[in-house]
Structure formats: C-alpha cells, structure tokens
C-alpha cells in the first residue's frame, strides 16, 4: 500500500513515546561505551598541543608498536588455527560418539573449561610447566627430556599453549551445531554414488562446514587478540603484545604518550571490529545450511 509522505512520517514518528523506556539503557551504553571510544578517536588525531595531526598514527610504525601488533596477530592467529583444527576434529569425534552420556559429559566439560581463563589458568600452567613444574619434572625424570631452557611457559610458545587451552573447548562448543547439521543422508547418497570417505569430505563435508569453520576461526582470533589477564599473569609486561602495551600505558609503567595510546586503541578496535564483522557475514552464510 502506498502511503503519502505525511502518512509515512506519521507512521515513523507514531508512538515516539515508545522510545522513552529505552532511555536508561541508551544513556548507560552511550555514556560508558560510545562516548569514551569517540573521545579516544578524537584523541588519536590530536597532538599534545591539541592540534589536528596524523603523527600518532605515523608513530605506530615505530619498531616497538609494529612488534606488538605482529606478536599479537601471530599469537592470536596461531592459537585460533590450532583451536580450529583440533577443535573441529574433537567436535566431530564427539558428535560421532555412540553414548550420548559421554557426549553430554564432554560438552559439559567444554562449557566449564572455556570459562577457565585469565589468572587461575595462567597459574595452573605455571604449576605443570613452570621451570619446576609437575610435567617439567616428570618429563626429565622419565624420558630424560629437559624442556627448559628451549621451552618456557613464560615465552611465546608458552603463551600459545595457555591460549590454546581456552580456545579449544570454545571451538568444540561452536563447531558442534555445524557438525550436527551434516545430514547422514548426504553421506549415504555420496557413498552410494561411489564416493569414498575422502572425496565425501573433500567435495561435500568440508565445503558445507567451511563457512561455519571460518566464522569460528575469526571469533577465536578476536577472543585471543583482546586477551590480557593470561598474558599478564605469565609474562608481566615483558612480552610485547598490544593489550600488554596498552595496559602498561594505563598503569604508567612506560613514558606517558596519550596520543599514541589512543591511536593504538583505535587500531585495535578497527582490527577487532573488522574481525567480528567478517565473523557475522560468515556465520550468516553458515546458518543457511541449518534450516
């Protein structure tokens, strides 16, 4: 039905008072989320004297900043890929389990362990893999394999191990619905048409799972990129990650340069925002198979 301009306007504004109950919610989200980030954006384009400048962003090309972004991207990328590959495999095998009780148990465990993160998790890894850790001692005692000093829980690969711990169960939880969406009939149809298991996966299974896997990979990346507590507990601020840099800027451990901090924060937001956006697109595509 065609509406006249006046009618359309009236329809749009009709019941504007219906927006009133949203005011408390909007005030808090704007005041605590939108405004601080907007001020940060403004600050990132401001020099110390308050003039407009690109210097803060140009400063990001300094080795200390490029290194922190490289380290953060590498750490998040590697643990997201590890989590995705291992998590998809475990998720698939869990789905195949015949006993639904064991299946529910593993799902419960994943749900609980994906909640374990931050300081207690970091400490648990110090207990097993610190220089006098339980596993460190057992490996050297039973296998004569001294993992220190080649490996250290306080180093990059130590962080990879600790991050994978919270990425893996999350991936299992995320991938299970997608795996459950693979219909048994598709597999039977493929096999009856002469496909072997490998070509079933190559031409049917994986292409169907691909959008879901990609979506979850992106989510895992964002999950690791924003992480702070685990890395802080393990390495203090010694290791150069974006979040640790920002943190030490806030606590005043490094020379105060608010402009650079703002630029770094905005770049982080941009990266995270783009990742989450791509995730949404991939997830929308993945849902098509689950109707």
């Amino acid at each position: 039905m065609q509406l006249t301009r006046g009618a359309r306007f009236r329809k749009l504004t009709a019941g504007w008072w219906n927006w009133l109950p949203l005011i408390p919610f909007l005030v808090i989200t704007i005041g605590v989320m939108v405004l601080p980030l907007a001020f940060m954006l403004e600050g990132s384009f401001q020099s110390k004297e308050g003039f407009f400048t690109f210097d803060n962003y140009l400063q990001m090309t300094a080795p200390v900043y490029t290194q922190s972004f490289r380290n953060s991207i590498l750490l998040s990328g590697i643990t997201a890929i590890l989590g995705t590959i291992l998590g998809t495999a475990v998720g698939y095998f869990v789905h195949q389990l015949r006993s639904s009780r064991v299946r529910e148990l593993v799902v419960t465990l994943c749900d609980v362990t994906s909640n374990f993160s931050g300081a207690p998790l970091a400490f648990a890894f110090i207990v097993i893999l610190g220089s006098n850790g339980v596993l460190t001692l057992a490996l050297s005692h039973y296998f004569g394999w001294k993992i220190y000093p080649t490996f250290s829980i306080y180093s990059f690969w130590g962080l990879v191990l600790a991050y994978t711990y919270f990425q893996l169960p999350l991936m299992v939880l995320l991938v299970l619905p997608a795996v459950a969406g693979l219909k048994q009939e598709w597999r039977e149809a493929a096999l009856s048409l002469g496909a072997d298991a490998r070509s079933y996966w190559r031409y049917i299974g994986l292409p169907i799972l691909a959008p879901a896997i990609l979506a979850n990979l992106l989510l895992l990346f964002a999950n690791a990129f924003g992480a702070y507590a685990t890395a802080y507990t393990l390495t203090g601020s010694r290791f150069n990650l974006v979040t640790l840099q920002l943190g030490s800027l806030l606590t005043g451990e490094v020379l105060r340069d608010p402009g650079a901090g703002d630029a770094m924060g905005i770049l982080t937001l941009f990266l995270m925002g783009a990742t989450i956006l791509l995730y949404q697109l991939a997830a929308r595509r993945a849902r098509r198979w689950r109707q």
Binding site: V32, L37, V107, L137, Y228, A229
Partner: protein
C-alpha cells in the same frame, strides 16, 4: 571404520587430558607440602589454605569481588530485562539496534574500554573512572551479551504479547505484569544470564586492575599478586576461583536444561550450548 574409532577415541582422550591436567595439578598442588623437586608431592597439608584464610586480605578481596559481582548482576538485570521486554513487545523496530549494541562489546577488548573510560572520566579531582561504581558500569557494558542473549531467547520462546494482554485485561498494572507474569516466565534466561555475568566478573582481572587497581582490590588481583610472591597461596586462590567457575557453570547448565525442557524440548545440548557459549574478552 574400526581404525577411525580408535583415532577418534584417542583424540578425545588426549583432549580430556589436556583439559584436566592443569586443573587437577593445581588442586593437588594446593594441598601438597612441596611439589617442586620430586615427581610426587611430599605429603599433604591444608596449611596453604589456612595461611590464605588467616591473611586479613583474603576476606577483604573476597567480599569486594562478591559485592561487585552481585551489584553488577542486579544493575544489569534491572537495566536489560525491562529494555529487552519492552523492545520485543512494543518496539520491534528497535530490535536491530538492540542486537547491534549488545554485540558491540565482543569487539571491544577490556583494555581498550579501560583506556577510553580513563580518558573521558579520569580527569578532575573526582577521578570518576577510578571508582567502584564506574567499575560496575563498565562491567554492565562488558557483560551485555552474556545477559541479553539468554534473556532475549527466553522472551522469544514465550508469547509475551498474549501474556501481557491477558495480565492487563485482568487489571494488572505494568510493574505487576513485569514482576508477576513476565519475570517468572523468563526466569531460566535471567538466571543463566545472571550467573554467567556473576562468574565472569568474579574472575575478571583486567578492568578491575586497570580502572580501580589497589583502591579496591578484588580476588583475581590478589591471586595475581600471590603468583609472584607465594605459589602455594596462589594455588589455594586458584582452586577457589576454579571451584566458583565450576559451580556456576554447572548450575547454569542445569537451569538451561531444565528451562529448555519446559519451553521447547527439541534442541540438542550441543546446539543450546553453542548458542550460549560465553565468548570474548573474558580472558
């Protein structure tokens, strides 16, 4: 086929070992006299718990964490449940906006949020950004998705329009409709959202340390302090932290299973969990 079974079983077992080993080791470490120079612990003791409990800081930080978590859950519930209900009932036009706002926190790392808050509210003699009330507000934002998602899916599972009309045609006022009709019907969503928020904040370190820091020490801050000072006390703190996380997760799981059984018994556990998987920024 047989070979595949073995492979599957092996990987599940390896996965379970990886998941259990750090937790189990921490539990044993916390009751071991010493476990840093021998394969097995040198005897068992509760001394580290006693030392931890006797420290006057223990009660303080525990109380601080419980207080902050409980107040956040309360504020978050009062803010989000009526908003979500109203938008679902009267303002479906605003649903995309609400979905966008409640997804945004996924993309905002805690460190960046802290930076922005201190930039905007950190100046002046009041230093609003560095006070516990600001921490609560930051937590409300930080946990928006955890609270909103379960509440929204509960709202979608029941016919709120009919319930509201029925209540009001029988003469119930708005507050009464909310409290006596809508709240009880979406209780599973509110409870699981609230518990998830509680557990998340009880273990949250980043915002707490960067915003208020030593002015209002929380449990995780004290835990991090002890990881650098005394590993045995840190292990007692870790165990308590793990136990709170275990307990809340299991209660949430119990509630969602119970809630889904009552409303729509058809979805599988995996699907349910996959949708409510706590994601993002809690680490």
């Amino acid at each position: 086929m047989k070979q595949r079974n073995v492979l599957g079983r092996m990987s599940i077992i390896l996965f379970l070992v990886y998941m259990f080993l750090p937790i189990l080791a921490t539990y044993v470490f916390s009751i071991a006299i010493r476990w840093d120079r021998s394969i097995l612990p040198e005897g068992l003791t509760f001394e580290w718990y006693q030392t931890a409990f006797q420290d006057r800081w223990f009660l303080i930080v525990f109380r601080h964490s419980i207080t902050i978590s409980a107040i956040t859950v309360l504020v978050s519930t009062l803010l989000i449940v009526p908003t979500a209900y109203w938008v679902h009932l009267r303002l479906p036009r605003a649903l995309p906006l609400l979905n966008l706002i409640t997804t945004l926190p996924f993309a905002i790392p805690a460190v960046v949020l802290a930076l922005g808050l201190i930039k905007l509210y950190g100046q002046g003699p009041l230093q609003l950004a560095r006070t516990p009330p600001m921490l609560v507000l930051a937590y409300v934002i930080f946990t928006l998705p955890f609270m909103y998602r379960p509440v929204a899916s509960s709202l979608e599972a029941i016919d709120i329009r009919r319930l509201t009309e029925a209540a009001q045609s029988l003469g119930a006022s708005w507050p009464r409709t909310m409290l006596q009709v809508i709240f009880p019907n979406i209780m599973p969503g509110i409870l699981s959202g609230g518990l998830l928020v509680f557990a998340t904040i009880f273990g949250e370190f980043t915002l707490a340390t960067l915003l208020v820091g030593a002015r209002y020490k929380t449990f995780p801050m004290q835990l991090v302090y002890y990881t650098r000072r005394d590993g045995r006390i840190a292990s007692a703190y870790s165990v308590i932290s793990f136990t709170v996380a275990w307990a809340t997760s299991l209660i949430i799981l119990w509630i969602t299973t119970w809630g889904t059984r009552r409303t729509s018994g058809s979805r599988s556990a995996g699907e349910r969990l996959g949708q409510q998987a706590p994601v993002g920024g809690k680490v």
